[in-house]
């Protein structure tokens, strides 16, 4: 018996001893997850990574509409870039209030947020996440890496353009950080990935860095209107430069209005055209209905392919409630959140009965005044963005959950208004051109009689005209700050967390660096 068992034992013994090979501990993902060394030998992969950088503005994770989120500190839908940016730029102003009770959401309109506010925190994380993504792209696409991976010729050229676009997107997010937070941490592709505490920059330095980046890539970008739809081109760079210069006084203390004239001129002369009907800019087919000729840089959404619970899904659904019929907006339901203040209604001459066709308030069943900020029917609703095409047909998503409507991040009308403002603020330029550009917008807005004269073109007119033309397009907070009526000036319902509204302190012009970022110190 023993003789039979013995060989088996010996086999077992040797097996166990052999079993101890430590190479078994060197494991890598075996599913679709890829390590960069394998992934980026394929030139196509760079474009898919670039798509992530753009998608970073539109969706919240890798499983659209939800699942495998980019950020985990907040509910995925809330953590989406455009949704947060929109909330911070609009809810803090006279243009929008929200009736929900999610966390500290009411503090945004009340201008009584603290450094623990999760929306501010997540915006901060989202901006720098976008920067970190871009840095990683630039690391992977470094000349050394491309060379080592044997990428040459047309592939190499394409990837060089991608790199310029990546740098544009990084500059865009840093611009948002500059505008919202002032002195965010500063990281580039030269920093490592880890848990270190990046150094904070200051506003002036960040301003010049963004400026120099944009100037550097200006000529590496695809010429204006020549790139694929959805991707940034030279005009997007000019737009961002114009915005940077327009607000330069706020950011750095020294005005740069002449540069605004310079760059808005380039845009205006680049061949873009205003779409005939203002409403078309905000419809499901705004990538094809003519609006695409006015839009310089969109954030593209698609009911089937680019979905999230942020972005346009939020902007459209949250604005619907009360007696509004979701079907008319091409969606399946309203989330009954967003309305506007009575003060903003009055920015339109005649209020909700304005002859200005850009006025799209929904008043049935709504009161103008906001007695209860939680009640959707308090305050007029805004029927601007819709998921229907020019013929009223719902977008591609049959369930009506996710819209096709693209968000017009930069559009020609804004360039007109910036040009006019720079002229009025003494940046030079041509007053005649300014007036005629404004009147192009007014002609579109009014059936007749909307035009203004040069004498009408002043700052008071401009801040209101920017409101009328660009409301709910995520410009308002920046504009109000530039016109000094955001915090210690300017009163609208529920500002300062009181029904009639009150002024707040000027430090509110910047959002606080989140408390959470102060606690984690380098490891």
């Amino acid at each position: 018996m023993y003789s039979k068992i013995k060989p088996i034992l010996i086999i077992f013994l040797s097996l166990t001893l052999l079993g101890s090979c430590e190479s078994e501990l060197e494991l890598q993902p075996e599913d679709e997850r890829e390590i960069p060394a394998n992934l980026f030998n394929d030139p196509e992969a760079y474009k898919q990574f670039l798509a992530k950088l753009y998608a970073g503005l539109a969706i919240s994770g890798q499983e659209g509409p939800a699942g495998n989120p980019d950020l985990i500190g907040l509910d995925e839908g809330f953590s989406q870039y455009l949704r947060l940016y929109w909330m911070l730029q609009e809810l803090t102003t006279d243009e929008a209030v929200i009736g929900w009770n999610d966390g500290t959401i009411l503090d945004l309109h009340g201008q009584n947020w603290t450094s623990g506010n999760e929306f501010i925190r997540t915006m901060y994380s989202r901006l720098l996440y976008q920067v970190a993504l871009t840095n990683e792209f630039l690391r992977q696409a470094s000349d050394e890496n491309l060379n080592n991976r044997g990428i040459t010729g047309a592939d190499l050229e394409r990837i060089q353009t991608f790199k310029a676009e990546a740098r544009f997107l990084r500059a865009l997010s840093y611009y948002h950080a500059l505008d919202l937070f002032g002195n965010p941490p500063f990281i580039t592709e030269d920093d490592p990935i880890g848990a270190f505490l990046p150094e904070q920059t200051n506003r002036a330095e960040l301003f010049s860095w963004i400026e120099s980046e944009l100037l550097e890539i200006e000529n590496q970008m695809v010429p204006a209107r020549q790139n694929e739809y959805g991707r940034a081109d030279q005009a997007a760079v000019w737009m961002l430069l114009s915005k940077l210069y327009l607000n330069a006084e706020e950011y750095t203390g020294s005005a740069k209005y002449a540069d605004v004239i310079n760059y808005t001129n380039k845009i205006i002369d680049a061949g873009y055209t205003l779409v005939d009907d203002y409403q078309k800019l905000f419809l499901a087919d705004n990538d094809t209905n003519g609006a695409q000729n006015e839009v310089i840089f969109p954030i593209a959404f698609d009911g089937l392919n680019t979905r999230s619970y942020g972005g346009m899904t939020f902007i459209i659904h949250a604005a619907i409630g009360g007696e509004m019929d979701p079907a008319k907006f091409g969606v399946n339901s309203g989330w009954a959140g967003l309305r506007t203040t009575p003060q903003f209604v009055d920015v339109f001459p005649g209020g909700a009965d304005s002859e200005d066709n850009r006025e799209m308030f929904f008043t049935e069943g709504q009161t103008k005044e906001i007695a209860d900020i939680n009640s959707f029917t308090d305050g007029y609703a805004v029927a601007k963005f819709k998921n229907v095409d020019v013929n009223g047909n719902q977008g591609k998503d049959v369930t009506g959950e996710h819209p096709d409507t693209d968000f017009p991040m930069f559009r020609l009308a804004d360039a007109y208004l910036m040009y006019a403002e720079a002229v009025v603020r003494g940046g030079g330029g041509d007053m005649g051109r300014a007036v005629s550009l404004i009147n192009e917008l007014r002609t579109r807005a009014y059936d007749s009689g909307g035009n203004i004269a040069a004498s009408d073109l002043n700052l008071e007119f401009l801040i209101n005209e920017r409101g009328r033309e660009l409301y709910w397009e995520a410009h308002r907070r920046t504009d109000l700050i530039r016109f000094n009526r955001f915090s210690n000036n300017g009163i609208w319902a529920w500002k300062g967390n009181v029904p009639q509204g009150t002024t707040t302190q000027s430090f509110r012009d910047l959002f606080p660096i989140p408390a959470s970022d102060l606690g984690v110190i380098p490891i």
Partner: protein
């Protein structure tokens, strides 16, 4: 006592046999040391099943004895003695104290005698288990062990439980103990597709649990030992045992004991009508108690059929189990078909012992939609369950004018349950082959090897027809998923136990190696937007390689010394951090063996002290140190031109990720008084978790996400555990014993970031109400389950004033700065109290459990206990309120008020069981009646004060069950 009871039964069973026997042998068995008679000693003719036990005076009479028969006298705590029958009429025996098998306690990679254990180790055996229709093994030992808290997740059939030994050690990493079943360490992450991974082990087949609590006991398991270790041993056949059949049936019925207190139809109507701005026309005319509509009386049956037999060299035990249990929530079902096999062969003169254990099971589930629980609490009670005009298969739903369901409205809870067809099956096999070989030529040298696997394959499907209001597409909501969990093990060790006579010292040396690999694969397909979609295949693999050693010394039966060492290498860490070392030492002093203790009341007195370092391997991530890219799926592509591109995303990673390390100090006393009539132990510990793994906000921009799993911080926990066992009455007909244990625990975060901002905290504990709201926090200096609330202000009648909170920082504003840490979910102390009483053939046992000092956030009240909750709705419908709204009259949400944080102290009669044994000649028959979750004493207003995590929301109620049991063995 137990043995006495068993022996008495055996005696009664044997008695009739004796009438037919010829040769009679009689005698008396006494204790060698004291000369006192020993009742209940087994007296057996070797190699047969023929035997008897001594009576209360130590006398026995054995009939049918043949010449040269060897008579074996055995009793717990004494060395067995053999006498050969050579025709004497009387054989008197003096039994000497000694170690018997029952005294041996399994510890990691070896065994020790209970009285020689130097760590905090507790064995819980069959006789001490909880009774009732127990489906999940861990319920057998709930309330039985100090320092061990077992909280069943909810009332779902076959549901799992949160097991915490000494409260767990980590924040973000796993806090569940390592569970080792017949030598195979299970995957601490569980197995996909089942409600509870331990259900693969049939509770009927468990011989004992050994709980290793402190580091000196667990450190031999190294990187998986920080949360304690539970060793489960299943029943095996017995040597030289006749063929035995056993059939056991437990039939149960269960009912919901309480419902969430919501408004009835009249109250609801009144509230809606009296609230300005509402439209009472939306209300219906029905009077529906939605909770009664979704719950039912559950029924269940557990069948166990066991065959066992033993020969000289080979013995086996085979068990077939069928368990079927419906839930108290309609459509919920759990079913198990399992086959347990244990084969033992003792070869080569008992020097080679081979053991094969195999547990195969089909675990079938119908997972009811537990969302119905919340929907039933929320749904308007004035609406009917059925509506003849409904296009949703006759179920009432909130609809628009066209009869199309409102998207944002609450769904009909009954329809949620009924319009769903969920099916899931997990096939699982846990098999281990153990070789234990006494190596010839070297005395006391043993080789032991385990080769085992735990393989599970699951497959499931969910289906909702298009007639369900949940379905938003033209085809049914369908989902098909499948997966594999595989865990393979190969370990071996050498054990050498020399005896140094010169020093009267027993030495026990062990050294070995282990390799274990875990593989998980999951696939899923589902319908979305009118088409089938495939989720990306997920494959996870990780491996652990270990070397371990232990040396134990027993000097003069007075001093005990033990040291162990383990080094673990894990695929989860980069090469620089891959290997880690886990040492432990412990010592014991058996005072009762000292001469100065002679004649004292102590029958046992041992002091123990231990120190050790353990790790936590379950960091939640297999490739956390590698940066990789994941591909987007579904609607997560981006448009360039006319094409949509799926994207690649780089994932966050921490190249420096390393283990959590837990440093434990433990001191203990094992004591026994009055001849061990009163025994027990006291342990005190102090533990520090360093390199605490937590998902923390990473400095923005430094990594590729906003939060990162990384090593940051430290926790300290302290505790005292007291166990007391008493044999209150010991007599021939009536016996009574009890087991009482109490645990005091305290856990505190002592550092949470490497910076020194004292105000830094991480919000925890998501609640229902709004989005992204949390009610707890992690912060330095407090317990990690601490609530984070505003201090409510009350009026003179002690009613809360809406929106009035204490302005803690005195800035005349209520801001986040006024939110304060307040109370905590984990209890300060908890206890278990079990009594077993037997009178002749009747037995009664019951177990109380109690928990004190813990608090609960009543999220059921806070989320729908205000007027706005049911009236401010995005679409034209209303939803029901928690009846608490009538007390507070809150108009708006007060989610963060400490009003909702309530004491969760409770005492629960967990189970009470009455049994009667009808002994027969060839057949033993036992019947029992058990009630579980019998009653609850608590001031907590919600459904149940015992909810893991401390947030009470839409809790699946634990039913009260009555179990009728039959057991037949022949």
């Amino acid at each position: 006592m137990r043995t006495l009871f068993k022996s008495t039964l055996l005696l009664l069973f044997m008695m009739p046999m004796s009438f037919f026997a010829q040769n009679t042998l009689s005698g008396m068995v006494i204790e060698q040391d004291t000369g006192l008679p020993i009742p209940g000693v087994n007296v057996l003719i070797k190699g047969t099943n023929q035997g008897t036990v001594t009576d209360f005076d130590g006398n026995y009479a054995l009939e049918g004895v043949k010449m040269n028969d060897v008579i074996v006298f055995s009793y717990v705590g004494f060395a067995s003695q053999e006498e050969t029958y050579t025709g004497q009429e009387v054989i008197n025996v003096e039994l000497a104290p000694g170690a018997l098998l029952e005294e041996v306690v399994l510890i990691g990679y070896g065994t020790t005698r209970r009285q020689d254990a130097t760590g905090a180790v507790q064995q819980i055996s069959t006789e001490e288990f909880n009774r009732g229709a127990i489906v999940s093994p861990e319920q057998l030992i709930a309330g039985k062990s100090a320092g061990v808290r077992i909280t069943s997740a909810n009332g779902a059939p076959g549901g799992g439980a949160e097991i915490r030994i000494r409260g767990g050690s980590s924040l973000s990493a796993n806090n569940s103990p390592l569970i080792v079943v017949d030598g195979i360490p299970l995957d601490q992450r569980g197995v996909q597709g089942v409600r509870n991974q331990l259900n693969a082990i049939n509770p009927n087949e468990i011989e004992d649990f050994v709980v290793l609590k402190d580091a000196s006991a667990t450190a031999i398991y190294g990187s998986r030992a920080s949360n304690g270790v539970i060793l489960i041993t299943t029943k095996k056949g017995k040597k030289d045992a006749p063929l035995n059949f056993e059939y056991d049936l437990k039939a149960s019925v269960g009912t919901v004991t309480d419902y969430v207190d919501v408004l009835d139809a009249n109250q609801f109507r009144n509230l809606i009508e009296s609230t300005p701005g509402t439209d009472p026309d939306l209300l219906g005319n029905a009077d529906t108690d939605w909770q009664k509509e979704i719950y039912q009386t559950s029924v269940g049956a557990i069948h166990n059929l066991t065959v066992s037999q033993g020969f000289e060299n080979f013995y086996y035990r085979v068990n077939y189990n069928n368990t079927a249990q419906t839930g108290v929530l309609k459509t919920d079902l759990y079913e198990r078909n399992a086959l347990n096999i244990a084969l033992n062969a003792d070869l080569l003169d008992n020097t080679l012992k081979l053991t094969l254990t195999s547990k195969g099971s089909f675990d079938d589930n119908k997972f009811a939609d537990e969302g119905a629980i919340g929907a039933a609490v929320n749904f308007d009670p004035t609406q009917p369950v059925y509506d003849p005009n409904s296009q949703y298969n006759g179920y009432y739903e909130w609809t628009d004018a066209n009869g199309v369901a409102l998207q944002q409205a609450t769904r009909n809870p009954v329809a949620l349950l009924m319009q769903r067809d969920p099916d899931a099956r997990t096939k699982r096999n846990i098999t281990n082959f153990n070789v234990d070989y006494r190596i010839p030529f070297v005395e006391n040298l043993r080789f032991n090897m385990n080769a085992g696997f735990d393989y599970a394959e699951n497959e499931g499907r969910n289906f909702r027809p298009v007639s369900s209001a949940v379905v938003l597409q033209d085809i049914p909501n369908e989902e098909e998923y499948s997966g594999i969990n595989r865990n393979t093990l190969l370990d071996f060790y050498f054990n050498y136990k020399p005896y140094l006579e010169a020093y009267n010292t027993n030495i026990d040396l062990t050294a070995g190696h282990s390799f274990q690999e875990f593989f998980i694969q999951s696939e899923r397909m589902f319908t979305q937007d009118n088409q089938w979609r495939t989720a990306p295949l997920s494959r996870e693999r990780n491996a652990l390689e270990s070397y371990f050693a232990r040396a134990s010394f027993d000097i003069d039966d007075r001093f005990l010394l033990s040291a162990s060492y383990r080094t673990d290498g894990s695929s989860r860490f980069s090469e620089d951090n891959r290997w880690s070392h886990f040492p432990a030492v412990s010592a014991g002093w058996k005072l009762n063996n000292e001469s100065f203790m002679e004649g004292s009341v102590f029958s046992e007195l041992k002091l123990r002290a231990g120190y050790g370092i353990t790790g936590n391997y379950e960091i939640g991530n297999n490739y956390g140190y590698i940066g990789f890219y994941s591909r987007s799926v579904g609607g997560a592509s981006y448009q360039f031109g006319d094409r949509f591109y799926q994207t690649f995303r780089p994932e966050e990673y921490d190249r420096d990720l390393r283990w959590e390390e837990l440093e434990t100090y433990n001191v203990g006393i094992d004591y026994g008084f009055f001849n061990d009539r009163l025994t027990g132990s006291i342990d005190a510990y102090h533990r520090t978790t360093d390199g605490l793994l937590a998902v923390v906000p990473v400095p923005a921009g430094a990594n590729l996400s906003d939060q990162l799993l990384t090593n940051v911080g430290e926790t300290v926990s302290r505790g005292i555990e007291i166990a007391l066992n008493g044999e209150v009455v010991q007599s021939q007909n009536f016996n009574w014993n009890f087991n009482y244990n109490i645990t005091f625990q305290d856990l505190e975060i002592t550092r949470l970031s490497l910076g020194d901002n004292p105000n830094f905290f991480i919000p925890q504990g998501g609640i229902s109400g709004g989005v992204g709201n949390t009610i707890q926090l992690w912060k330095t200096g407090i317990d990690p389950t601490t609530f984070f609330v505003y201090r409510q202000v009350y009026d003179e009648n002690n009613n809360p004033i809406e929106g009035a909170y204490v302005d803690v920082n005195g800035d005349n504003e209520i801001t986040e700065a006024d939110r304060q840490p307040y109370k905590k979910a984990s209890p300060d102390y908890f206890m278990g109290f079990t009594n077993n009483l037997t009178y002749k053939n009747l037995d009664l046992s019951f177990t109380f459990r109690g928990s004190f000092g813990g608090y609960m956030y009543n999220n059921t009240q806070s989320s729908i206990g205000f007027v706005g909750a049911g009236t401010i709705t995005p679409q034209p419908y209303y939803s029901n309120f928690n009846a608490n709204v009538l007390e507070t009259n809150f108009q708006r949400n007060q989610f963060f008020s400490d009003y909702y944080v309530r004491s969760a102290d409770f005492v629960r009669l967990d189970n009470i069981s009455l049994g009667y044994l009808v002994p027969g000649e060839d057949v033993n028959f036992r019947a029992s009646l058990t009630a579980t979750n019998v009653f609850l004493i608590t001031n907590y207003e919600g459904l149940d004060p015992e909810i893991a995590g401390g947030i009470d929301n839409n809790f699946y109620p634990r039913p009260r069950t009555f179990v009728l049991g039959f057991n037949l063995s022949f």
